[in-house]
């Protein structure tokens, strides 16, 4: 199959990659760029584990072709924070026990940050709605919701 050369700006770094038109963004991120923090759970757009930011909006990488994203800016879990300097959402997930196996967590946190970017002061219902497209089998969601509440509060204070 013919390949084309695309440019992706991932977590601030520019990559040039030869891809087939049919290659999923999830596969390119994970297996070509080595960014395995983006997880693939269902490959049919339901579970949300593979969610990243594409040009600032959350999107499922199992439903996107890499070739469609030529020139786009992408942020994955690896671009959010480090162990010593966590993003407030990462810190809140840790504090509130918002994860167990950790597989859905990257996508869940991207969905949460997407919400907080749009709505810095969400109520519980807003949060439930925002993460209802992301499946978690471990937590029962309650501590995820509490973590997002904590992160929202922290981020509001930071803004002031």
């Amino acid at each position: 199959m013919s390949k084309e050369c695309i440019t992706l700006v991932v977590n601030g770094k520019t990559y040039e990659e030869e891809v087939e038109p049919r290659e999923l963004l999830s596969d390119v991120l994970r297996h070509k760029l080595g960014l395995t923090g983006t997880h693939v759970g269902c490959e049919h757009g339901v579970c949300g584990s593979c969610t990243v930011f594409i040009n600032g909006k959350s999107a499922r990488t199992c439903l996107a072709f890499a070739a469609q994203c030529d020139g786009f800016e992408i942020t994955t879990i690896e671009g959010l924070g480090t162990v010593n300097e966590m993003h407030p959402v990462q810190q809140a997930f840790w504090d509130k026990h918002g994860l167990q196996c950790g597989f859905c967590t990257p996508g869940m946190m991207i969905a949460a940050i997407d919400l907080l970017n749009e709505n810095p002061n969400p109520d519980r219902e807003d949060i439930v709605e925002a993460v209802s497209g992301n499946l978690c089998r471990c937590t029962g969601y309650q501590t995820i919701i509490e973590a997002i509440e904590q992160a929202a509060e922290h981020m509001r204070k930071e803004r002031v």
Partner: protein, 822 residues
């Protein structure tokens, strides 16, 4: 058999009691596993990549039951990038049958030979340079099938003969096993009964469905003739050698390397097909091969569907409204194979009479083969079903006899002063305080308050219901249950051990080696807390690693809610030995008597002399490097590393005829779940208004993570009760092969808040009194939710005797009852 009540209680081997003040145990600790997971650096199976690695996919059977007449792979092989293609026959030349605990063995192969028995069963394997190319090749393989009659219905399966028989070499029947187990004076209790309550109950086929599927990356070193398999398989240090046997190599020629598992809930307990496929292909190709199930593979062929049972039950009550006996006839649809035999019923028999004082019980179980994916382990392992059955029967008795469900339970409970308590099957309940759990739940929920609200809502035409389920959570299994119920057990008994190695390194920090993987629970945090408790070491100075089978020690890993109790046992042993050496070496260094020494905050010091002490680092350096400064006695040999194996703390063999199952699952947790639901009678939708779950898991190690398990398991139970079902049509086609059709609860379906409470009745048999708690939520939620729905719809007389109660089905029940009224 002798009346179990008259049997002696085995002596406890507990060394560390619950009645002491703890620094770490019992306090919430943030997980040490989390930082790497939060920044995307956890390594799961699909993150493993080896040089020259190839990618495998399986051609799945489109038929539920058919003979394979021919397979043409020529075009597929010609596709550029395809490296190898193996049919079942090809695979069978080098690789044997998959391991099974059934006896007589039910033969399963990683790729079907001659016959397919369910949709999704692998028929051909393709290896290519990329998964894309491998999947392209699937389109170029032509398989000719001859269809056979499909067995889909579990009741009809009992009578199937001829071509409809899945395993003709086992006889002209699809009955995999039929056994009758009777414990205590069942007939007498029923003859003397004042009332007999009868119900037919249905438990649906559902699954664990972790977010990560099963996968393996295998390589074969033809120089050493040795396999290495990376796989998200939990029991690798327990039964990994069985995979070596399937591959036809000695166990020392197979190294199984653990990776993080993205959830299991039982389903990754015993992986065989996936690692065997990867290993077979790696040997064939001479290159590493990755094989990862996609979601369709996982739903249709993961070998881990849950129990699928139809029950006919009778409950006997005496004139005082005390339950005396339970009689169940059950048909269980095991699917196409039978890897654990009747293990899921063995599990249930450990607690089949629930928290109640029934004197006898009978279980007549018929296991059938059908053209579906086979059953495996999933949170509860069959005992979640018997919890549903017992509680449904209790609710039925209360409802038919007009008794209060709380008073009735309190009157029938085993009382706190009766423990340890033998139930009729021969299993022992170690400890418990069931009234305390129920009373705490009532208080937490404000039960009376909700009853008032319910009454007011009824006046407004709203249907609010308060559910109640009082259930057992057996924990710390002896794996004997996997084969105990085989007519001719192929194996003798096991104590199901667990091991740790603890090393204090040269600088005084600790490394704990675990022999089972992380599968979403909190093994590192738990082990860290317990070691910190025992050695007074700071948790931040403790690291945890996972050993492969090359470095393996006996371990069965997480499962059956055993891991915390078992690791605690192994850590008490290891830390005890280490402590002795630390005290002795420090005593020599300080010229004091070892008897006068103590551990304090990561130091070893002389009691009463705060200034006379050595840090762990000083003592460790001395022990590791300066042997010659220490006495010439083997106890001072270089190093500070101890490995300890902890055998099951309390297990006894069953009788030969299985009229007594022995003690096999004795560390008995308990829970009371009280959900409040509102049913929309127009749509059948169930909404949670409140949810209280009070658990007694003995001594709690980490309240935060235990609560996490309870909540997660409860929402899994919400799925089982309301949404999830693997549905097959008459042709054995699965109708729920994706997440568009197999509905896992999202944040919108979960109860907004699950309020968790604890009662702590320590086990007298485990270290610190710990009991397991990993499965509890799912073992209590389904009957509690059924009870709440029935309570809500009491004015309509709807019975919640089958699950899942999807909106459409609930609406159907409501419609039926309204039609009856009219």
């Amino acid at each position: 058999m002798t009346n179990p009540k008259n049997r002696p209680i085995p002596a406890s081997r507990q060394r560390e009691g619950a009645d002491q003040s703890f620094k770490w145990i019992g306090k919430s600790m943030k997980r040490v596993e989390d930082p790497k997971l939060l920044v995307g650096k956890g390594v799961y199976i699909d993150d493993v990549s080896l040089p020259n690695m190839l990618h495998a996919v399986a051609l799945r059977s489109p038929y539920a039951h058919a003979l394979i007449k021919s397979i043409d792979t020529k075009d597929a092989l010609a596709l550029k990038g395809v490296v190898s293609i193996m049919t079942g026959e090809d695979v069978a030349k080098s690789t044997g049958v998959l391991p099974t605990f059934s006896n007589p063995p039910v033969e399963q192969r990683c790729v079907a030979v001659d016959r397919v028995r369910h949709v999704g069963e692998p028929v051909v394997l393709v290896v290519a340079e990329s998964r894309y190319i491998a999947e392209d090749a699937l389109e170029l393989i032509y398989v000719e099938y001859e269809e056979l009659p499909v067995v889909n219905d579990l009741v009809e399966a009992v009578h199937a003969t001829g071509d409809a028989v899945l395993h003709p070499y086992l006889g002209d029947t699809n009955v995999a096993s039929h056994r009758n187990f009777s414990f205590g004076p069942v007939d007498e209790d029923f003859n003397n009964a004042d009332v007999i309550i009868k119900r037919n109950l249905r438990w649906p086929r559902s699954g664990a469905q972790p977010m990560e599927t099963c996968g393996a990356v295998a390589s074969y070193d033809c120089g050493q003739e040795k396999f290495t398999i990376h796989v998200n398989f939990s029991m690798y240090n327990y039964v990994g050698w069985l995979l070596a046997d399937t591959l036809g190599v000695p166990a020392n020629k197979l190294n199984i390397v653990p990776v993080l598992a993205g959830g299991s809930f039982g389903s990754k307990l015993f992986l065989h097909k996936v690692p065997i496929i990867a290993a077979t292909l790696a040997r064939e190709c001479g290159q590493p091969v990755k094989y990862i199930e996609d979601r369709i593979d996982n739903i249709t062929a993961c070998d881990a569907h849950g129990s699928d049972r139809v029950y006919t039950c009778e409950l006997a009550l005496d004139e005082n409204r005390k339950m005396t006996s339970l009689r169940c006839e059950v048909i269980d649809d095991y699917g196409a194979y039978f890897q654990f035999g009747l293990g899921t019923h063995g599990n249930a028999l450990s607690q089949i009479t629930g928290p109640y004082r029934l004197g006898s019980v009978e279980l007549d179980v018929t296991a059938v083969f059908t053209n579906k994916c086979q059953q495996g382990a999933i949170r509860g392992f069959g005992a979640e079903v018997s919890n549903y059955v017992m509680e449904r029967m209790v609710d039925a008795a209360c409802s038919e006899l007009g008794m209060d469900p709380i008073e009735f339970r309190l009157a029938n409970y085993i009382q706190p002063d009766e423990f340890p308590y033998y139930i009729p099957t021969g299993n022992l309940y170690d400890s418990g305080n069931y009234p305390a759990v129920l009373n705490k739940a009532i208080e937490l929920l404000d039960y009376d308050g909700w009853r008032k609200k319910q009454e007011e809502a009824r006046k407004e035409g709203r249907y609010i219901g308060i559910g109640l389920a009082a259930c057992q959570e057996r924990s710390v299994f002896s794996a004997t249950e996997f084969w105990m119920l085989n007519k001719d057990p192929g194996f003798s008994l096991t104590s199901t051990p667990e091991s740790v190695t603890v090393k204090i390194d040269q600088l005084g920090c600790a490394v704990i080696t675990l022999y089972a993987p992380f599968w979403g629970t909190s093994p590192e945090t738990m082990a860290t807390m317990i070691l910190a408790e025992q050695l007074t070491i700071n948790p931040k100075d403790i690291a945890v690693i996972y050993a492969d089978t090359d470095h393996g020690l006996p371990s069965a890993g997480p499962g059956g809610s055993r891991y915390t109790a078992m690791i605690a046992g192994a850590l008490v042993s290891a830390s005890g030995t280490l402590k002795t050496k630390l005290l002795k070496v420090a005593a020599l260094m300080l010229e004091a008597s070892p008897d006068d020494m103590e551990l304090r905050d990561g130091k070893v010091g002389v009691k009463g002399s705060p200034e006379r002490e050595k840090t762990f680092a000083e003592v460790a350096m001395q022990s590791h490097l300066f042997r010659l400064s220490l006495p010439d006695d083997p106890e001072f040999d270089s190093g500070l590393t101890v490995s300890s194996t902890y055998d099951h703390p309390l297990t006894t063999p069953p009788s030969e005829d299985r009229s007594d199952l022995g003690i096999f699952y004795p560390i008995m947790g308990h829970m009371c779940h009280m959900p409040v639901v509102e049913v929309d009678v127009e749509t059948g939708q169930v909404k949670f208004l409140d949810y209280v779950a009070v658990h007694d898991c003995g001594t709690v190690v980490n309240p935060m993570t235990l609560d996490g398990h309870v909540r997660g398991g409860t929402v899994h139970g919400v799925g089982t009760a309301l949404y999830e079902e693997y549905q097959y049509d008459d042709q054995g086609q699965i109708l729920t092969a994706s997440y568009a059709d197999y509905l896992i609860p999202t944040a919108s379906e979960a109860p907004p808040e699950i309020r968790v409470g604890h009662v702590e009745t320590p086990s007298p048999f485990t270290e610190f009194g710990i009991k397991g708690g990993g499965e509890g939520g799912r073992m209590g939620a389904p009957p509690a939710i059924a009870s709440a729905i029935e309570d809500a719809l009491r004015p309509l007389g709807v019975k919640a005797d089958f699950l899942p109660l999807t909106p459409a089905r609930l609406r159907g029940l409501i419609r039926e009852s309204q039609n009856l009224e009219e």
